[in-house]
């Protein structure tokens, strides 16, 4: 198992999980809030739709294309 931080809370996921999976396991499933103030979540799961943009260790990344790493800090309200 890998431990990471999702919106300030510790979360344990199986090694090899994507951040998109972690969002569903540990949060409301959403990756970010849009300019129109809507919560947005992964859709295509293959790096195309750009819906799962999320802040990981301060960088905007695609949740579905990023594997969870120990100590990773994921922020969906950033």
């Amino acid at each position: 198992m890998i431990e990471l931080i999702l919106d300030g809370l510790a979360l344990r996921v199986a090694a090899g999980s994507t951040v998109a999976a972690a969002l569903y396991l540990g949060g409301d499933g959403s990756s970010r809030t849009s300019v129109g103030d809507q919560r947005r979540a992964p859709v295509c799961g293959m790096g195309i739709c750009q819906e799962c943009r999320v802040s990981i260790d301060g960088q905007r990344r695609l949740a579905c294309q990023t594997l969870c790493q120990p100590g990773m800090c994921v922020e969906t309200h950033a």
């Binding site: 300019v35 750009q50 943009r53 905007r60 695609l62």
Partner: protein, 373 residues
């Protein structure tokens, strides 16, 4: 008569024309097939361009009209008076900037030179070593698809909008895809790049452009940033050229252009062209490499041989009025174009000299037909 005026095309130019005629009390029918055009995909930079006096006159006049409308535009038109910085990377470009300053100032356009340190202070994300910039404070940005909606909405009940494909034009009549003919006092053709399907004699070529937008990174850049080599790229008549052009979106996204290619009608994003454009952008904004792009797409500009639009009655088709060929500047120049066209139609004096844009410069007036005995 199906309306006093029929406008073919509800892009920014057709919408500005409809708005102008409705303001003068005419009933306007706007037909658009919704096949899409440049307005939906362009950059929406309202920019005073000075490659020739006519281009400058039309852009200056139009920017003034946008400025007057700005307070009443809907918020989703995203009008922002961010100004333009024309960036000088070497001595020749610095001279070009100074020359541009003189040309714009002579027309009463507010602008000032920034030296290297003032530029760094204004835009710290730009690479070191740029020599300076010309700041044009009155330039702005606009989300053109919503601005087109706003213009149509201003016409109230005077403007009727219908989704219809026009398959033929003949003077003051248009034929719809279902074969019906509609008639008006005047037909205005504002079909952008598609206008030459209805009038093959129009001297319009497609110039393809690539654009790319990043995720939201608020506050990284403040002005529309354009390299001074842009005008050379914009007016090349052959080959593929790229130039650095970056816009701060109100959302915090960075919107990047620009590329120009002739003789392609394929809307596909082309990797090699996009790569060239981005390398150019990285040269000015090295930090861009750390940001994420979320979309890229292409669009087509309707280019005429002299880069000026065709505004006026078709010399060979009385009743058919042309408002086409706005190239890469049609969002900027739509309001002035509409005013000129309306002035022609109403036989009123125009605010600027209309002659450089008259279609007759490319379309010969027909000789009187010879009668055989």
């Amino acid at each position: 008569m199906n309306a006093e005026i029929i406008v073919v095309g509800a892009g920014i130019v057709g919408s500005a024309c409809a708005h102008q005629f409705a303001r003068r009390g005419l009933d306007v029918l706007v037909l658009d097939s919704q096949r899409g055009g440049a307005t939906a995909v362009g950059m929406g930079h309202l920019v005073a361009m000075d490659d020739n006096p006519a281009e400058l006159a039309l852009s200056r006049y139009s920017i003034e009209l946008w400025r007057q409308w700005a307070p009443s535009l809907d918020p989703d038109c995203a009008y922002r008076n961010c100004g333009t910085l024309w960036l000088a990377a070497n001595r020749e470009e610095l001279q070009a900037a100074e020359h541009k300053r003189e040309t714009l100032s002579a027309q009463g356009i507010a602008c000032q030179m920034l030296d290297a340190s003032a530029l760094r202070q204004a835009e710290p994300m730009l690479r070191k070593g740029l020599l300076g910039a010309l700041k044009v404070s009155g330039d702005s940005i606009l989300y053109a698809p919503n601005a087109a909606h706003w213009l149509l909405a201003q016409g109230g009940a005077r403007i009727t909008r219908r989704q219809d494909q026009v398959s033929e034009v003949d003077g003051n009549r248009v034929r719809l895809a279902d074969g019906r003919w509609l008639t008006a006092e005047a037909v205005v053709l504002a079909g952008g790049i598609h206008a030459s399907e209805l009038c093959p004699e129009l001297p319009i070529r497609a110039k393809k452009g690539h654009l790319l937008i990043t995720d939201r990174y608020p506050g990284r850049i403040q002005h529309q940033l354009v390299e001074l080599g842009y005008a050379a790229s914009a007016h090349a008549n052959t080959g593929t050229s790229v130039a650095f052009n970056a816009q701060p979106r109100p959302t915090g996204q960075i919107f990047l252009g620009s590329s120009r290619q002739f003789d392609s009608l394929d809307p596909q994003v082309e990797g090699p062209v996009l790569a060239r454009m981005l390398r150019r952008a990285l040269d000015y904004l090295p930090e861009l490499g750390k940001l994420n792009a979320i979309r890229s797409w292409t669009g087509f500009r309707a280019a005429t041989p002299d880069s000026l639009p065709l505004l006026g009655e078709h010399p060979q088709q009385p009743g058919l009025w042309l408002a086409v060929g706005h190239e890469g500047l049609g969002v900027t120049t739509a309001p002035g174009s509409a005013q000129l066209l309306a002035a022609h139609l109403f036989k009123e004096p125009a605010a600027i000299d209309p002659s450089p844009y008259l279609p007759g410069r490319f379309l010969p007036v027909p000789r009187p037909t010879e009668h055989s005995a």
